[in-house]
């Protein structure tokens, strides 16, 4: 066998062994399939396109009268079919187009143009529990097709959405493999409760967790929609207020089996990684700071010369840690394989996906025989089956899931952070002159400097970083997500036409709750390193008792499981009587989520139950009206307070259908105004409020001590926060008005939405002990008050979506798509005390704005200090000067004002340009965000807390004066310390524009690929986060999307694992 395999010379120079196996497998399948299609008699090839010439992908092409003989079009709209019957007619169908019968006659190569089923707004969009034609849609929905998502090589699916969907706001705070999914919001944030602004995610009618969502393989996605207004979210009732993401997955169509393979290889590098100064430059600034603090220079001229001239790299090391620790590029591999097709009876879509995302740390640990780099390995699988059981009964059976493995090295960073980037950015841990990596004899280096490091204390005396990466091991997290969903759909036309009954049962099991993961770790403890004693010129061990590398210790944690059982029973009705179209939906649903490892869930199932209804009517698609409502509830509330009714109404008017419009305004093809209003709820109330109605006593051991001579640790029990039996969910009144237009023969389409959401009944702790920003009850009460539904937030904004597509000549198609979203929230009521100075109130400002000092310059000299308002601490020239807002001559907490912007952008926009010429396609996509603040703290900016960057070279000096970019360098904490005194100097705007994705692709001409017995081959290259322009870099060398804590009161401590720039090369083959 082995020898036989070796004879097989792979014509492609990809990874030979896996490819061999793969092709072997493929040929086996092909062989079986091709038996049925060998009787070649009348082969017809063709292209299916829309009226503007754009290829229609996935259109079903079936021979009339022979439903079993069918195929579907490939990525470039092409198909090949062998006619067997006598009709010589093809039935061509696709979801957004009118079906067409095409008589082939004797032709062998045909061009079939499908007409949009009603203008360009005719696309069908996915909404909650159903689909709707865009023309009759009265709600606010934005969608994107799976094809578009696949142009983006990022590992987490939500990272593909920024800027593409109006109303979608996101921030990708990390690029760590397995944790790089952006946090996202629909129409911004509407509640100041932490953890309660994330949208509901529904995949094929089943709720997904945030983590499940980020692990979806984009290859499985057919469409993705976000539901934004009351009319579309009311069906989700108590869970719809944050908006809903609805995903449908790909399903089989009647066609011959079509096998596709995509293989991708990407190179990744950080979008931004701070460039730190070298040893000489750093030592110079160190001496400057010493001088500023009235101390003698630490580095002598001889030392400085040593660092500058690199004469003795052991005594005067100058290490570029970025080069030492990190690769220039890390790799990512992705492969998909899917089979789709079907007959009248059975349709199938089966796919398997693989992703491997490697980390950016250089390989040190192979010396210890382990792999401790960051990585993310994921297998996705899905089998979607549709069966026609009887003439009126359809059965759907979906089996899907993923298996993933995420690896993180054990770093042993100072302060308990297990984060290499904390080490990298910390001056006290990895100054450029910290230590030589290796000593002349090859042993790990260390230094006296690090044994008694700078100003940090012994906590920063951590061993040689390369040694730690070699020997300290890893933590590996395993996750196994398995889902099974079955649906039976029964048409009840025998009762009345258009009626059908559908039942769905789904079970999802996630082993390895991300909050309580299943991990295995191999941890090492110690290894020897030696430092040069400069006085005796001998090498001494860092730790006198460590002579060898200790063995790795394995430990594991079992993690916990999340189980989610969902049942739904639908009654659907959809019928047209002449000009009158009625449709309706009645739904009973229940879901029960059990988490084992979380104290918030405490193994008790979290049950939701609800009744949902929809009733719609339109007259000739001209006058549209729809009612949605849900009566549902959650058992996290006390009896009698569990259920709520959430109604919404919407209406639309297709003015362009009116004769007066149609006959007079020719260049507008479609003009619709629509509006909706309704009430929706949000029961994601944050983990602070679990079993909100109960009062729990807390208990703990070792709280107090009694006894002699050894004190006995005694247990204590204490009253917890009071319960509130009346506690209920947050509610939101959503209003939305919009215009949908298409102009110039449907080449340009415009959608403009204006919305206003009023969130109320936001749970608020009036004692301020949970969120110290709010609450007006005195501490004399002596206890945490229960959450009470009383907060109010308004959120309003506007969204614009523009699409323009046209063609030049016969083959050149181009399209421009632009989106703009603005969503600004304002806290209307949060039970704040009445402040002496109004500017200290959070009420009236946006959620998560911070209370900070106003920076107005630098203290110039002692005369300036004498005449200016001063803080408590000693102030020196070069310190940051703040505005004395209350005019009392003292800079203190009263001068802190709520100002700036929140930590989440309130404006985001995207611009997509795409061009298609014959087999070529090029697309570029820009995304930007505005009006948000970033604040850096210790290791991210503080001089000598962080390693020094060029901005520290422009620190204040009398000569620089107000041109300085940074306050006086010092070791003393004071008014200019970014940690203790937040100010507008540190809190700056992070506005950015990104070349988010770009793609270039080429589909090989059919004549080239035919000899290879392949339907189509496409080669392409795309990229993610290619270029970034940001305002942030005037101070910070950070990615602008780095977040700063959910409550908005903190800032970012250090460089995170930076988001990655990805350059991807791919090959897609369809058989």
């Amino acid at each position: 066998m082995k020898d036989g395999n070796c004879d097989f010379k792979n014509p492609f120079s990809l990874k030979a062994y896996t490819m061999k196996k793969f092709f072997f497998f493929l040929f086996a399948i092909l062989f079986v399939i091709s038996i049925s299609s060998f009787a070649q008699s009348n082969k017809v090839t063709g292209v299916v396109s829309d009226s503007s010439g754009g290829a229609i992908v996935g259109a079903s092409v079936v021979e009339k009268g022979l439903p079993s003989n069918g195929t579907s079009t490939n990525a470039s709209g092409r198909f090949t079919i062998t006619l067997k019957g006598a009709s010589r007619t093809l039935l061509v169908t696709n979801i957004s187009f009118e079906p067409r019968e095409f008589h082939v006659g004797n032709a062998t190569n045909v061009q079939i143009v499908l007409k949009s089923s009603s203008g360009s707004l005719a696309d069908v969009v996915v909404i909650g529990y159903g689909r709707q034609k865009k023309i009759t849609l009265t709600g606010a929905v934005s969608s994107v097709s799976g094809v578009e998502l696949r142009e983006n090589p990022t590992a987490s699916v939500q990272n593909t959405l920024a800027g593409r969907l109006p109303g979608f706001f996101s921030q990708q705070t990390s690029g760590r493999p397995g944790a790089d999914g952006a946090t996202f919001y629909i129409r911004g944030i509407s509640s100041y409760n932490t953890g309660s602004s994330s949208p509901l995610i529904i995949v094929d009618d089943i709720e997904y967790s945030y983590d499940q969502f980020s692990r979806i393989d984009p290859n499985e996605i057919e469409t993705l929609s976000i539901l934004k207004d009351a009319s579309t979210t009311a069906v989700y009732g108590v869970r719809g207020a944050n908006g809903v993401v609805v995903v449908t997955t790909r399903r089989g169509k009647i066609s011959a089996p079509q096998i596709s393979f995509r293989g991708e290889m990407s190179l990744q590098q950080p979008t931004i990684m701070p460039h730190f100064l070298n040893a000489y430059e750093t030592a110079l600034l160190y001496n400057v700071a010493r001088k500023n603090d009235n101390q003698t220079p630490y580095f002598s001229d001889k030392d400085l010369a040593g660092y500058r001239d690199h004469t003795d790299p052991y005594r005067y090391p100058d290490i570029n840690w970025r080069e030492v620790l990190f690769k220039n590029f890390s790799k990512q591999y992705r492969g998909n394989f899917d089979i789709t097709g079907g007959t009248e009876k059975v349709k199938y879509f089966i796919s398997a996906g693989y992703l491997f995302q490697d980390g950016m740390v250089k390989d040190f640990s192979s010396r210890a025989g382990i792999n401790n780099n960051y990585y993310n390995q994921r297998y996705n699988y899905r089998s979607n089956l549709d069966m026609k059981v009887t003439q009126t009964t359809d059965l759907r059976l979906d089996l899907y899931g993923n298996i993933s493995q995420i690896n993180v090295p054990q770093i042993g960073s100072p302060n308990g952070w297990n984060d290499l980037f904390a080490d990298y950015s910390s001056f006290l841990t990895l100054a450029p002159f910290a230590y030589p990596i290796y000593n002349p004899d090859g042993s790990f280096g260390y230094s006296k400097w690090q044994l008694s490091p700078g100003t940090g204390g012994s906590v920063y005396d951590v061993n040689n970083v390369v040694g730690r990466l070699t020997y300290l091991g890893y933590t590996r997290t395993f996750e196994n997500n398995m889902n099974l969903a079955g649906t039976v759909n029964q048409r009840l036309d025998f009762i009345t036409r258009g009626l059908s009954l559908k039942g769905t049962l789904s079970y999802a099991s996630s082993y390895g709750d991300p909050g309580n993961a299943n991990t295995v770790s191999m941890s090492g403890s110690e290894f020897p390193s030696f430092y040069l004693d400069t006085t005796t010129n001998t090498y001494l061990p860092r730790s006198t008792n460590v002579y060898r590398v200790r063995r790795l210790i394995r430990s594991s944690s079992n993690g916990s499981t999340i189980r989610n059982l969902t049942t739904q029973l639908f009654l659907n009705y959809d019928r047209t009587f002449g000009s009158h179209h009625f449709y309706g939906l009645a739904l009973v649903s229940q879901s029960s989520v059990t988490k084992t490892g979380s104290s918030a869930y405490n193994f008790i199932p979290n049950n939701f139950r609800g009744f949902t209804g929809r009733l719609g009517y339109d007259y000739r698609q001209k006058y549209l009206i729809e009612f949605n409502g849900a009566y549902n509830g959650s058992d996290r509330f006390s009896k009698g307070h569990r259920y709520g009714f959430f109604p919404a109404g919407s209406a639309g008017w297709n003015i362009s259908e009116e004769p007066f419009f149609k006959n007079n305004i020719a260049f507008i093809n479609r003009f619709k105004i629509r509006g909706s209003y309704g009430l929706v709820g949000n029961d994601k109330l944050g983990s602070n409020f679990t079993y909100y109605y109960q009062q729990i006593y807390n208990s703990g051991g070792n709280q107090v001590f009694f006894g002699n001579p050894n004190p006995n640790a005694a247990s204590a029990t204490w009253e917890g926060g009071l319960g509130n039996p009346d506690v209920s969910w947050e509610k939101e009144k959503k209003a939305d008005v919009a215009i949908d237009m298409s102009l110039f023969k449907n080449k340009l389409s415009v959608t403009v939405d204006y919305f206003k959401n009023n969130r109320y009944d936001i749970l608020t702790d009036r004692s301020g002990r949970i969120d110290s920003r709010f609450g007006s009850v005195s501490a004399v009460f002596g206890q945490t008050l229960p959450p009470v539904n009383l907060g109010k937030v308004s959120n309003r904004g506007i969204e614009v979506e523009l699409n323009y597509s046209n063609k030049i000549g016969k083959d050149l198609n181009y399209a421009v798509k632009g989106t703009y979203s603005y969503a600004k929230n304002e806290i209307l009521f949060a039970d704040e005390p009445s402040y002496q100075y109004g500017y200290q109130a959070f009420t009236g400002n946006s959620i998560n704005m911070q209370r900070v000092y106003t920076w107005i310059g630098f203290y110039r000299d002692s005369a300036d200090i004498a005449k200016s308002a001063k803080p408590a601490q000693a102030v020196r020239p070069g310190d940051l000067k703040y505005a004395d807002l209350n005019g009392d001559g003292i800079i203190d907490g009263y001068d802190q004002k709520v100002q700036g912007y929140p930590n989440v952008p309130n404006t985001t926009a995207g611009l997509q340009l795409s061009v298609r010429y014959k087999g070529f396609n090029i697309g570029i996509f820009f995304q930007g965000a505005m009006n948000f603040n970033v604040r850096g703290l210790a290791e991210s900016i503080l001089a000598f807390g962080s390693n020094l960057t060029s901005v520290h070279q422009q620190a204040w000096t009398p000569e620089l004066g107000d041109n300085a970019k940074f306050p006086l360098l010092t070791f003393l904490p004071g008014i200019s310390d970014p940690r203790g005194t937040p100010s507008t100097f540190w809190l700056i705007r992070g506005d950015y524009i990104r070349l988010k994705t770009a793609e270039i692709g080429y589909t090989l001409p059919a004549s080239w690929v035919r000899p290879l017995k392949v339907k189509s081959i496409r080669i392409y290259s795309n990229g993610y986060n290619l270029f970034t322009w940001t305002k942030l870099n005037k101070l910070y060398q950070l990615d602008p999307e780095i977040n700063q804590g959910s409550s908005g009161t903190s800032g970012t401590d250090r460089v995170n694992y930076p988001p990655q720039r990805t350059i991807n090369f791919g090959l897609s083959i369809t058989f």
Partner: protein, 568 residues
């Protein structure tokens, strides 16, 4: 066939909905509730005992309490070795209602509620009578102690009595007057003292409040109430505000109440000064949990945290550099007399400025690390460039700013090479204080020689030589005013770093003089001869309004009936 299949979804759903109608464990069953904590069947009272224990957690700790520093770092006796720590707000004059490092407002009221919850519910639990009696009395004692913490900071505060406020109760309560608050605490102590455990505690109960603690609290509250600041001496011009922070008029007989309380205390017949121990009685008081001098203390687990946080920075024990967080001042060191009991500036004291630590009150060496004192088998080196004052942040980020470190409360580690776990209970009441209270009250009542007798016992234990006239350096014919100064100084050095000086300076109304000053350190040059140079290290600011703390800003904004103290 067809008809049955369409029923499938219906049937399936019905089964599932039905099965989920029966519910067990709809709420967590492993959580404590009020019923479980105060269980009507629990004769052992285990969990209700835990509830009592919890009240003890609200007692303030003392060691490194203010963000890592001692409160005494704000008393002029020391400064924090680290720059710009929050405790310096008190001496830099930058305390405000939003910037107070030690409000202890919320904590006190959380503790008070905890005690009231216990008192309200304990009667449901069928524990033995004596257990219940002790439990209730301890809860009431601790509640009184929390009111005391509020009283010394703010003056009169809202008194809640036994109420446990509920959601619908009005807690917009006005402040009670100073007099009412004093009376409340004193009456509570009187009411419960006989219900508390007797003074001789079993080892396993060590740390619980006894009758001694209740009477000691009474002594202290009465002492403060009789002191100049509160006894009609408040600087407030507004009589409403004055009544909140003190008595409106002076009444010297309030000193008699102190004397009576001390006599009541002494009648317990149990407590005494530690006169022997390793290495001395004075040191052993703080490093042995159970002794007859400690009346009540905040209990802590045994460890060596305090040794690491306070030892001079040159001591590195198993790779951990000691932190030397406290820098006692020269002003404080100068307050210690000579072994003969005479102040260093008095004639005949024998003080030699070029050998300043020779022949001093033994309490100096037990309280402060000075250059040359032996610690872990080597001499402390606080001279410039010495191991404990290297003047180099690359070696040690923090070092003494005054040339001294804090020695008090640390274990007996003059010899040896490492610290071991030891007892570190912060004394809240100890017998030496009762004696000093007594001496002060007697002196104020004009019984100067009786006061002298009391101070002699303190000095005798401290190791001061009795002298030929057995007056321990106290001059014959000392006047009341001189004696007042002497008692104040004795209190400063005997009770140093036990959170007395900060408040004493206020109640004596001397803070205006002693805290508007320059604090000095010592610069020692180690050469062929060691030279000592006194250098200024900090200046302190004190304004009249600092005599009382400002009520936290949040509380004023949240409760419109609270009247802020004058000046804030």
């Amino acid at each position: 066939m067809k008809k049955t299949i369409y029923l499938l979804p219906v049937l399936l759903s019905i089964v599932i909905f039905w099965s989920s109608c029966r519910k067990y464990e709809t709420e967590p069953k492993d959580w404590f509730t009020s019923q479980l904590t105060f269980d009507t069947l629990d004769k052992n009272g285990i969990v209700s005992g835990y509830a009592l224990n919890n009240i003890y957690t609200y007692i303030p700790g003392g060691f490194n309490r203010i963000d890592g520093d001692f409160l005494d770092d704000a008393s002029g006796d020391a400064i924090p070795s680290r720059y710009n720590t929050t405790v310096e707000n008190y001496t830099k004059g930058t305390v405000s209602s939003i910037n107070n490092p030690d409000p202890y407002w919320g904590n006190s009221y959380y503790g008070i509620r905890d005690a009231n919850v216990y008192l309200k519910n304990i009667d449901k639990v069928p524990v033995p009578v004596l257990t219940k009696q002790y439990g209730k009395a301890e809860a009431r004692f601790l509640r009184a102690l929390f009111y005391w913490e509020l009283l010394k900071r703010y003056g009169g505060v809202p008194l809640l009595g036994d109420t446990v406020p509920g959601l619908n109760d009005n807690i917009q309560k006005p402040r009670n007057s100073f007099a009412e608050t004093v009376d409340y605490i004193v009456n509570e102590c009187t009411a419960i003292k006989d219900s508390l455990r007797p003074v001789a505690l079993a080892s396993s109960d060590w740390g619980r409040a006894t009758k001694g603690a209740a009477v000691a609290l009474k002594c202290r509250v009465l002492l403060y109430a009789a002191s100049p600041l509160f006894n009609g001496g408040g600087f407030e011009t507004d009589p409403v505000k004055k009544a909140l922070t003190g008595y409106l008029t002076a009444d010297p007989t309030r000193w008699q109440k102190v004397v009576d309380a001390v006599l009541e205390f002494n009648a317990l017949g149990y407590y005494g000064l530690q006169t022997s121990g390793t290495p001395t009685g004075f040191i052993s008081v703080f490093i042995n949990k159970m002794n007859t001098e400690i009346i009540f203390a905040k209990q802590s687990p045994n460890n060596s945290n305090l040794e690491i946080s306070q030892s001079p920075v040159g001591y590195i024990i198993s790779n951990t550099r000691s932190q030397g967080l406290t820098s006692p001042t020269q002003n404080f060191v100068d307050a210690f007399p000579m072994t003969n009991g005479l102040g260093i500036n008095e004639s005949g004291s024998g003080y030699n400025a070029s050998s300043p630590y020779t022949g001093r009150d033994p309490r100096l060496a037990a309280t402060v690390f000075y250059n040359g004192l032996t610690w872990l088998s080597r001499s402390v080196q606080t001279y410039q460039g010495g191991l404990d004052k290297p003047d180099n942040p690359a070696v040690s980020p923090v070092e003494t700013r005054t040339g001294y470190y804090l020695r008090k409360f640390l274990g007996n580690f003059s010899t040896g090479t490492a610290f071991s776990s030891g007892s570190h209970n912060f004394p809240i009441f100890r017998y030496a204080e009762i004696i000093l209270d007594y001496a002060e009250a007697l002196n104020e009542l004009g019984q100067v020689e009786s006061a002298v007798t009391q101070i002699k016992t303190i000095r005798a234990r401290a190791g001061i030589a009795a002298g030929t006239n057995s007056r321990y350096g106290i001059k014959v014919g000392i006047t009341q005013a001189e004696m007042r100064t002497l008692i104040q100084n004795e209190r400063r050095i005997e009770l140093a770093f036990e959170e007395h000086r900060f408040w004493d300076m206020r109640r004596w109304k001397i803070a205006g003089q002693v805290l508007n000053t320059t604090l000095n350190g010592i610069k020692i040059t180690n050469g062929t001869t060691v030279t000592y140079q006194i250098v200024p290290v900090a200046t302190t600011v004190f304004q009249d309004k600092f005599y009382h703390m400002p009520i936290p800003y949040d509380e004023i904004t949240k409760n419109s009936k609270l009247i802020q103290n004058e000046g804030w």
